[in-house]
Every structure is written in structure tokens, then in C-alpha cells.
């Protein structure tokens, strides 16, 4: 293991940017966006430098660590503020800083009319820093800091336009649901410390060798909970749709490319735990499977272009989680899909942003149509992304997604068959709703109002889109050519014996393409052949209705958690006032009451006083007589 002194700059640079921009205030409005972008870019540079360094070393010595200082040390609980950069985290570092920088550039123009642009860039830098800490931390606790850090950044960015109450609520929702996930992470850390006596990745890995399955399963499940929160997986997925309240670059960076994939990172990072805890691993797969269908189904009914993409993100991450749940074989493919997805989904989001930019921030696809004439570049880049997500060869998705489907099938037994079918089905539905998006947005005849004048976005906006498009075309091939990524990551994961391939890769690809074709066809006939209404039709099947309402996820949460919670709260407030404080006041009243009763003895008549004395005397005698007998 080699040590380094420059890792900290990865985090320090964007953090510095954020701090300066926040403290400087309006003074920085002039140059704020420049600084922000520069910081992100330089972080990327450092990342590239680290990569080159890493490439120059042999597998074993590739991971780099840096101890900053002793953070928390009480009794046997010792956590250093330490960073670790290995083959896995470098992928993330480059994705975060790379895509991040592009989106910075994009935002310069996209946010140019917002007089709070500086603050926006401050938040973006803050996010980059937190996200890098997340992937660089060398222990679960350091990861936790980044983990909640990105949560904070996402909260700030979703609520960037929080003067709109709905947006403010959306940001709060996101934060709270993330916190529920974070609880899982803290449980995992506590269990790890209580059972294994350490919380650092190396420590846990070493200890997990001879730890009981029960403990590891517990940790694994808790990590999964954390992942579901951050990566919008079932059952904690409900926040992602609302998170689209944030400016579109945010959706691209945080809620498509990077933050939401943290769950996948966490699971892959903890491979040694899941490999030893089959139950937890199985749960991971199940969650992934459910979510990828769940997201896909929601996607089919959304008219809001961003929400459609968000649903798709949810579903794609479902693929990754599923892949990660398949164990050593799957990790690499999960990461690969994560990277390619980073490119094409970010690209499509930016495309959506560009469309909204040209359409006065209209997000309803039913009010689009025939835009390919007006914004050709956006159409082109979006289209490439579209092909990529469909998994059409030779675009990126083809390499990453089909690998996951293939691995699913090869998982063996009924499990393999079920998972294979689910993933295939997902691919089909994906094809359907993405085609729907394409058609509604770019083809057919225009359905927008007259005062809208669609136009292509400026250079600063389409350039990043273009670059990402290139990525979504090439990344798949580059990463899988000669199993580049698989070999790169191999040293981190346990060896896995060759699975008996139940299906040839070729067969899987053909199956996938077939399903995709079906999906496209349905969408084509449904939306291109017949007229699309500018206002969503109400006389639709009950399934559509349910799908439009995100499969009732909010209704469910509301009924099961919110309402009861509110009732409980108001009940407790009343109890506190009436019962507890009431009891206290009651004691006082009692004293007063008995006082005024006793007062009655003081009649004012001297004879009654004398009588009192007489009685007293009698009692005194009686008492003394009693004690002395």
C-alpha cells in the first residue's frame, strides 16, 4: 500500500471553492462561477494525475492512502481522518470530477439569468467535495460524513429555488428519507464496531474473515438500507421524483450520474461483507429487481420529461444494485453500467435542460413535439444517449447492461431465470418509455403555445452535452474492451470460479435486442401513429393512473407514516400539557386545597381553641400510653 500526500487536494480544492463562494457573498457574483468551475476542473486534474500514477504501479501497490489526522479516538474506538484511493474509488473520482466539471461549464450558461448563480456554484462545489469524501474515506465513518454531506448538498440544490413552497417541501422530503437510509448506515457502523471492533474498510475486511454470518448479514442488510435511501431504491425511492425540483444540471449531476449511485459504491466497497452473507446479498438482488421494474413502470406514464428521466434513473440504478447483488461476477459490471449510465443519463438530463431552456422551462412533454428541427444538437446528443440506454450496439449501454442481464441469467437455477426475465423485461419497458420520450419531444408535430420560441442552446451548454454524448457512444466499448474494467477492479474482489454459462453472450444480446425492438415498436405505434394530446387524457386505464401517481408510493408513505406521525405528535403535545404538566399543577392545587381545609380549624372562637387543646391533651395522653404499653 503506497501513501500519498496529494489525495486531500481532491477534496480540499472544491471545498475551498465552496467556502470562498459562500463567505464572499455578493462580492463574488462576478467571478463566482469561474472559480467554482476552476476548482472542479483542477480536482479532475488531480484525479487524472492520480490515475496516471496508479497505472504506473502494479496491482497490489495501486491503492493509495493518506492519513490526515486522528479524528475520533475514545477507548477502543479509533477513527482517523484518512483517505484511500484504489482502483474502485478512482473510477468514481474521475466520474464525479469529470462529469461534474462538464456540468459546471453547462451551468455557467444555464444559470446565467439567475442572480443567485454564485450560490449555485458554491453548492455544486460543496457537493463535489462531499461526494469525493464519500468515495475516498478509508472507513465507514468517514464515508458516513461524505454520505450525509452529499445529502446536505442535494438538499440545498433541490431547494435552490425554495421560494416555491413545493420545491422547499421536495428538498425536505429528500433529506428526511435520506436520513432514514443514513440510520441504516449508522446501525451498520455500530454493529461493525460492536462485533468486529473496527469500522475501517481494511479492519472490517480483515475481521470479516472470521466473523459470524449472523453479524455480517446484519451489517449487510443495514448497508443495503443505507443504499436504498441514497440510491432511491425500493422502498425509499419516493424522494427522487420530487428531487427534480432542483435546477436541471443538479438532476444531471447528483440525481443521475453520481450521488444516487453511492449505494452501488457502498455495496461494491463492502463486497467482502456481502460475499460472506448470502441472505443480505439475496436481499440486494431482490431490491434491485423490484426497483428496476418499479422505476421502469413509473417511467412509462410520466409526462414531465425530467420525472420520466428520473424514473429511468431509478430503474437503471436498480440494474446496478442487482448486478452488485450478484457477487464477485457482478461487481465489475455494476460499476461499468454505473459509469456508462453516468455518461448517457447525464447527457440526456442536460439535453432535457437544454429543451426546457428553449421552451421557457416547460417540462410537460405533451407540450413539446417536432423539436428536432429547432434544436438539432440537443436532438443528436439526446438521441445518442437514447441509443445508449436502450443498449443498442455498439453504444455504451449495450456493453454494460447486457453484461448484467447475462450475469443475471447465469446466476443459476430459478433465481437466474427470474432475474434474467426481470432484467429483460426492464430493458423492454425502458425501450418503450425512452422511445416515448423521444417521440413526444422531438418528433411529431409541435404542440407548444405560440409565445414559445424554441431555439438551440448556446455553446457552453451544448459542448458538455456533446462531450457526454461521445462518452455514451464510446465508454462502453472502451471499458469492456479486453475486459479492461473487470481486470482493473479484479484485485479488489474475491475470486469467482467461472460460472457455467447457461446462455451464450450472443444469445442474451439477441434476446435483449428483440425485447427492446418490441418496446420501441409499441411506443412507436402508440405515440407516433396516433395523435398525442397536449393535455394528458383522463380516460386512461387504471394502471396508467396508478403509474402516473408513482405507483402510490406517496399515498402509501402518507397513510402509513406521515398521518400517524402527525397524530402521535399532536397527541403527545396535548398529553404533555394536560397530563404531565397537569400532574405537577395538580400537586400544587392539592397543597392549596388541603391548606384551605385545615384553615377551617381556625374558627376564631376561643372556646373551640380551648377544645382543641383539650382534645390535643387527650390524644397526647393516649399516644404516650400507647407507646409505653
Amino acid at each position: 500500500m503506497t501513501t500519498s500526500t496529494s489525495l486531500v487536494y481532491l477534496i480540499a480544492l472544491p471545498l475551498f471553492g465552496a467556502t470562498v463562494l459562500l463567505l464572499a457573498g455578493r462580492r463574488a457574483d462576478k467571478w463566482g462561477h469561474i472559480l467554482g468551475t476552476a476548482m472542479s476542473a483542477s480536482a479532475f486534474a488531480v484525479g487524472v494525475y492520480q490515475l496516471t500514477q496508479m497505472l504506473g504501479r502494479t496491482n497490489e501497490s495501486r491503492p493509495v492512502t493518506q492519513k490526515l489526522f486522528e479524528w475520533i479516538s475514545v477507548g477502543s474506538f479509533n477513527v482517523d481522518a484518512g483517505l484511500m484511493l484504489d482502483q474502485l474509488s478512482i473510477c468514481f473520482v474521475l466520474l464525479i470530477t469529470g462529469v461534474g466539471t462538464l456540468i459546471h461549464i453547462y451551468s455557467i450558461s444555464y444559470m446565467s439569468h439567475d442572480h443567485d448563480r454564485r450560490r449555485f456554484f458554491a453548492y455544486l462545489n460543496l457537493f463535489i467535495a462531499a461526494m469525493l469524501l464519500l468515495v475516498l474515506g478509508n472507513s465507514y465513518l468517514n464515508l458516513y460524513v461524505g454520505w450525509e454531506g452529499v445529502g446536505l448538498a442535494s438538499y440545498l440544490l433541490i431547494g435552490f429555488w425554495n421560494q416555491k413552497p413545493a420545491y422547499a417541501t421536495a428538498s425536505k422530503k429528500a433529506f428526511v428519507m435520506n436520513r432514514i437510509g443514513d440510520m441504516g448506515l449508522s446501525f451498520a457502523i455500530m454493529i461493525a464496531f460492536a462485533t468486529l471492533g473496527t469500522v475501517s474498510f481494511d479492519g472490517v475486511k480483515a475481521a470479516s474473515e472470521h466473523a459470524s454470518t449472523a453479524a455480517l448479514t446484519a451489517i449487510g442488510i443495514m448497508l443495503l438500507v443505507a443504499a436504498t435511501g441514497k440510491s432511491a431504491q425500493f422502498p425509499l425511492q419516493a424522494w427522487l421524483g420530487d428531487a427534480m425540483a432542483g435546477p436541471t444540471p443538479v438532476s444531471a449531476l447528483i440525481h443521475a450520474a453520481t450521488m444516487v449511485t453511492a449505494g452501488v459504491y457502498l455495496i461494491t466497497r463492502s463486497n467482502f461483507i456481502f460475499d460472506a452473507a448470502p441472505t443480505a446479498q439475496l436481499l440486494v438482488v431482490i431490491v434491485g429487481a423490484i426497483t428496476l421494474l418499479f422505476g421502469a413502470l413509473i417511467g412509462t406514464a410520466k409526462d414531465d420529461i425530467k420525472k420520466a428521466l428520473a424514473a429511468s434513473t431509478m430503474s437503471q440504478i436498480g440494474y446496478m444494485i442487482l448486478g452488485a447483488g450478484l457477487g464477485p461476477v457482478g461487481y465489475a459490471f455494476a460499476i461499468m453500467h454505473l459509469l456508462t449510465h453516468g455518461f448517457f443519463k447525464a447527457g440526456m438530463f442536460l439535453g432535457a435542460g437544454s429543451v426546457m431552456h428553449g421552451m421557457n422551462d416547460e417540462v410537460n412533454m405533451r407540450k413539446y413535439g417536432a423539436l428536432r428541427k429547432y434544436m438539432p444538437i440537443t436532438f443528436a446528443t439526446f438521441g445518442l444517449g437514447y441509443l445508449a440506454i436502450l443498449g443498442v450496439p455498439p453504444f455504451a449501454g449495450f456493453y454494460s447492461k447486457d453484461k448484467i442481464i447475462e450475469t443475471a441469467f447465469n446466476a443459476g437455477g430459478n433465481k437466474g431465470i427470474i432475474l434474467g426475465i426481470v432484467t429483460l423485461l426492464g430493458a423492454g419497458i425502458t425501450a418503450f418509455y425512452m422511445t416515448r420520450v423521444m417521440i413526444l419531444t422531438f418528433t411529431g408535430k409541435s404542440r407548444w403555445d405560440d409565445e414559445v420560441h424554441p431555439h438551440e442552446s448556446p455553446l457552453l451548454m451544448w459542448l458538455p452535452m456533446a462531450i457526454l454524448a461521445v462518452g455514451s457512444v464510446t465508454s462502453g466499448f472502451l471499458l469492456s474492451n479486453g475486459d479492461a474494467l473487470v481486470n482493473w477492479l479484479a484485485p479488489l474482489f474475491a475470486e469467482h470460479g467461472e460460472h457455467a454459462e447457461r446462455l451464450q453472450p450472443m444469445v442474451v444480446s439477441l434476446l435483449a435486442l428483440a425485447v427492446v425492438a418490441v418496446g420501441i415498436a409499441i411506443a412507436f405505434f402508440k405515440y407516433s401513429r396516433q395523435e398525442v394530446l397536449a393535455i394528458a387524457p383522463e380516460n386512461v386505464s387504471v394502471f396508467t393512473k396508478i403509474a402516473r401517481q408513482d405507483l402510490m408510493q406517496d399515498k402509501f408513505n402518507e397513510a402509513v407514516f406521515m398521518r400517524p406521525g402527525q397524530l402521535l405528535t399532536s397527541a403527545l403535545v396535548k398529553t404533555d400539557e394536560a397530563v404531565i404538566d397537569g400532574a405537577v399543577r395538580g400537586v400544587g392545587q392539592m397543597a392549596l386545597g388541603s391548606g384551605s381545609v385545615l384553615r377551617g380549624i381556625q374558627t376564631g372562637f376561643v372556646r373551640s381553641y380551648a377544645a382543641l387543646i383539650l382534645v390535643g391533651a387527650a390524644l397526647l395522653i393516649a399516644a404516650i400510653w400507647m407507646v409505653t404499653q
Binding site: 381556625q602 374558627t603 376564631g604 372562637f605 376561643v606 372556646r607 380551648a610 377544645a611 383539650l614
Partner: protein, 99 residues
């Protein structure tokens, strides 16, 4: 005869006095009941002095009489004042101060 009887007598007198204080209204009478109690005590002293065969008891009896006399002086003064200002010697009328 047995000296104990005198003790019973004094106890009886004392009780009569005590009860009298409680039941009678007229301040003078009440006061006289108190005097009766004092004298009951005196009787007890003298009896004991007889039983113990020393003089202390009888000496005390004399002291008591003197003290009682002083009490009469003070007591009557107060009662008379009250009577003059209230035109009544009933102790029950004097009940401004209560509770």
C-alpha cells in the same frame, strides 16, 4: 384514709374546670373555670406533699395562689376592657380574628 382519693378528686376538679372552659360562654366564668383547674393542681400538690412527706408541695401551693392572684389582676383588666368596648362578656362575640 387513702391519699389517692384526693388525687382522684383533684383530677375530677381539673376535668370539670377544663370542660367548663370549653362549654361556658361568659368570660368571667371561663376564667373561674381556669382558676378551678389551678386549684385542682394545688390540691394535687398538697396531696403529693402529704404522700412524699416533704413541704415542697405546700410551698408551691402558696406560690400558685399568688400567681393566680396576679392572673386575676391581668385577666380582669382585659375582660373588663373587652366588656366596655363590646358591651358583652361573651367570649364568642370576640371572633374578629379567624382563619
Amino acid at each position: 384514709m387513702d391519699a389517692a382519693n384526693y388525687l382522684y378528686l383533684s383530677a375530677l376538679l381539673f376535668t370539670i374546670g377544663a370542660v367548663g372552659v370549653v362549654v361556658r360562654r361568659n368570660a368571667i366564668v371561663v376564667f373561674m373555670c381556669v382558676e378551678l383547674m389551678l386549684n385542682a393542681a394545688n390540691l394535687a400538690f398538697v396531696t403529693f406533699s402529704r404522700i412524699n412527706g416533704d413541704l415542697n408541695g405546700q410551698v408551691i401551693a402558696f406560690f400558685t395562689m399568688v400567681v393566680a392572684a396576679c392572673e386575676v389582676v391581668v385577666g380582669l383588666a382585659i375582660i373588663v376592657t373587652i366588656y366596655r368596648s363590646r358591651r358583652s362578656a361573651s367570649v364568642d362575640d370576640a371572633s374578629l380574628l379567624k382563619r
